[in-house]
Structures are given as structure tokens and as C-alpha cells.
Symmetry: C2
Subunit: 190 residues, 2 copies
DNA sequence: TGAAAGCCGAACACTATGTTCAGTATCTTA
DNA sequence: TAAGATACTGAACATAGTGTTCGGCTTTCA
């Protein structure tokens, strides 16, 4: 079974990632220090730096899980490429976000959120590009701008939704997202 | 003429804001320290803190200029509320951005860019809300999400455009922005 | 079971932040 | 134009976080 990682190392990493998420939901990414993390995870300082180069690195690597999820999702639904159901990658992420609701809310929008947001941008950007690039006819709008637009819309809907009370279910998020991304707001202005 | 500010204070602030912009374009917001700023501006450390609470504060206050611009712009064009020309506030900002092109590019997208981006978000959000709120009929999409969507789209177009070579003229930016915001991407997918 | 890999934790050097204060320069206005 | 108010200087200090190093201990793997 492929070179499995040392059990201790795995434990440590899981502890650190868990600690980070816990701390983020508790006080926001910005306010979290490396010291907090290793205290919470009960791990030595030098150990931390043996695994990650810093706070940001830890955060970025904690997104691996999500990326894997997305790749799967996209592979599974690769065959049903109907014209009507574009952008269906979004569902998986919305669900992931609702599961880690508190952490996401603390991340998206806050200052350190940029690191997270950028990571999400990359991950989602890849998904969008893969799905969209073969379907974009010639247009005045450059393709990369289109991709960025879709990603931006996605993140907007995500963070707006997470802020709302009562919580918006993933299905609703997806609907709003697709309406905005596909049709803009022209149709709902009088 | 209203209580004009002390000439020395004005000088100092201008120097600090100028220094910040210069440094941002030179090495990016993140890398700039307070020490850098006061060296560049040739101002005492304590003086800096007498005016601003820190780097972020200085950045935020440096956007005052832009806000004033936008408010003017919007007042001027308040009468021509035709249905066809929505979102025309954008032009002024795109032009401002092209003027401070280098600074904007260093800001939007970089990590510290969040502070700037958030500030831009607030400023533009106000403008959008003012223009849009009376024109939004009942809809499944919550109004504040709509506003955030428009703002997000704006920022996406802005940063994508600034990254492009050769430079995209403000008029072009505006066109792309309005197409995406008003009509989404449904129409350009086959 | 023994070598390899991982972990501990204290100590250290470094960088940046934000405050304080006594002395000096500049402005305002009467 | 002089006096009082206001602003600036610059060095010293306290605080806080970062990232590295290293000798000694523990766990894992084969």
C-alpha cells in the first residue's frame, strides 16, 4: 500500500489541522498565532516547523481534502455533460462549506481569509476552467476573465450565504449561484 | 473656510500616503513595514502613530479621495436614471484605477490586498446599493447578495484587467463588467 | 531488537509593533 | 510680531511573534 506516512507524523498533522480549525472558529484566522496552534494541538514548537513553514502553509495544506473531493466529483459527473446543467461542481463545495460552516465563516471575508480565499480560488478555478474551456465560443470577454468571474461569483454567494440567518441550505446556495453566474442581474432589474 | 487643518499635519499626512503608495508599487503591501513608511516619508515614528493607528489605518484613510470622487460622480448622474444604463458608477473607479495602475495592481490580489479590497468593497458597495435598491423587484435572490455579487464582479474585472498586457482601457473594462454583471455567462456558452 | 524517524522544549536571535517623553520647530492668531 | 498652541523628533523601552537549533527522549518499523 504505497509508502504510508509514519503514524506519529500523521497524528501530529491531524492534531495541528484540527487545532487550526478549532482556533479559527473560535477567534478568527488573523488572531491565531503559531503558539496558539501548538498549545491547542499539544505539539512542540520545533515539531510544528518540521511539518509546515508557518501558519499559512498549514492552512493551505488543510485544503487538500477539499481538492480531492472536487476532483472525484468532477470525474463522476464527467459523462452527463448536458448543456442545461453547467457549473454543477458547485454543489460539492457548498456542502463541504456547510459541514465546516463555522470555520468557513471565520475564514471567508476576514483578513487572513485571503490565504484561504486564494486557495479556494485556485481549487475552484481549476474546476471551472476544466468544465468551461471547451464550451466557450469566441467572445469579447477573455476566457480567463470568465473563469475568474465565475469563481468570484461562487465565493460571493458562499460568503453571503454563510452570513445569513437562518442558514441557507446548499441547494438554495447552488440555485442562487447559478442564476447569478449564468444570467447576471439584468433580468431582475425593472 | 471651515477649520482648516494645520499645515504641518497636512504635509505629514500627504507625505505618509505618498510613501505608502510608492512602497506598495515597489514591493507590495504585505512587505511594507511602518519603518519603511516613515523612512520613505522622512517622518518620526511617534508622528506616524499620532496620525494613524497603523499601516492598515493609513491605507484605509488613503481611500477617502476615491470615496469623494464616487459620491460626486453619483450625484452628477443622478438625473439620468434610464433603464438601459445601469451601473455607470463604475466608469469613475476604472479610471481612478488606471491612473494609479501600479498601486492598484500591487494591492488587488495580494494578501494585504484584503484591507484594500475590503475598503473598495465598502465604497463600491455603497454606490451599488444606492443605485440598485430602488430598482430591485421581488426575487428569489436576496438583495444584499445581489449587491455583493455586483461588487465582486466589479473587483474581478478590475483585477483581471490590470493584470493583462497590453493594458485594457477603462472603456473596455466597463463594457466587460456590465456584460458579466447584467447578463452573466449563459449567453456565451454554447 | 536495534536503527531510523519523529518529537520535545528550552534557549536564542531577529523583526516588527506601538508607547512614552523631553526637547525643538512651526504655525496661528490676536 | 510675540505668545501660546500645536505638531514633530528621535531615542529608549516594553511587548509579542517568528523561525532555528540542538541534545536528549520516545515511538515506529522491519
Amino acid at each position: 500500500m504505497a509508502q504510508s506516512i509514519d503514524r506519529r507524523a500523521a497524528r501530529t498533522r491531524k492534531a495541528l489541522q484540527g487545532a487550526l480549525i478549532a482556533l479559527i472558529t473560535r477567534k478568527g484566522y488573523e488572531a491565531v498565532t503559531v503558539q496558539d496552534i501548538i498549545d491547542e494541538a499539544d505539539v512542540g514548537r520545533s515539531t510544528f516547523y518540521a511539518h509546515y513553514t508557518g501558519k499559512d502553509d498549514l492552512l493551505r495544506k488543510s485544503f487538500e481534502q477539499l481538492r480531492a473531493l472536487l476532483v472525484d466529483e468532477q470525474r463522476d459527473s464527467a459523462d452527463q455533460v448536458r448543456s442545461k446543467d453547467a457549473l454543477l461542481f458547485s454543489r460539492a463545495v457548498f456542502e463541504h462549506a456547510c459541514e465546516y460552516r463555522h470555520a468557513y465563516r471565520a475564514l471567508v471575508g476576514s483578513r487572513g481569509g485571503v490565504v484561504a480565499a486564494n486557495e479556494l480560488r485556485r481549487i475552484i478555478g481549476d474546476a471551472v476552467r476544466k468544465e468551461l474551456s471547451p464550451r466557450l465560443g469566441a467572445s469579447t470577454v477573455p476566457p480567463d476573465v470568465v473563469v475568474q468571474f465565475v469563481v468570484g461569483t461562487f465565493l460571493t454567494v458562499l460568503s453571503s450565504s454563510l452570513r445569513r440567518r437562518p442558514a441557507m441550505p446548499p441547494a438554495e446556495m447552488e440555485k442562487v449561484f447559478r442564476q447569478l453566474a449564468l444570467r447576471g442581474i439584468g433580468w431582475l432589474i425593472e
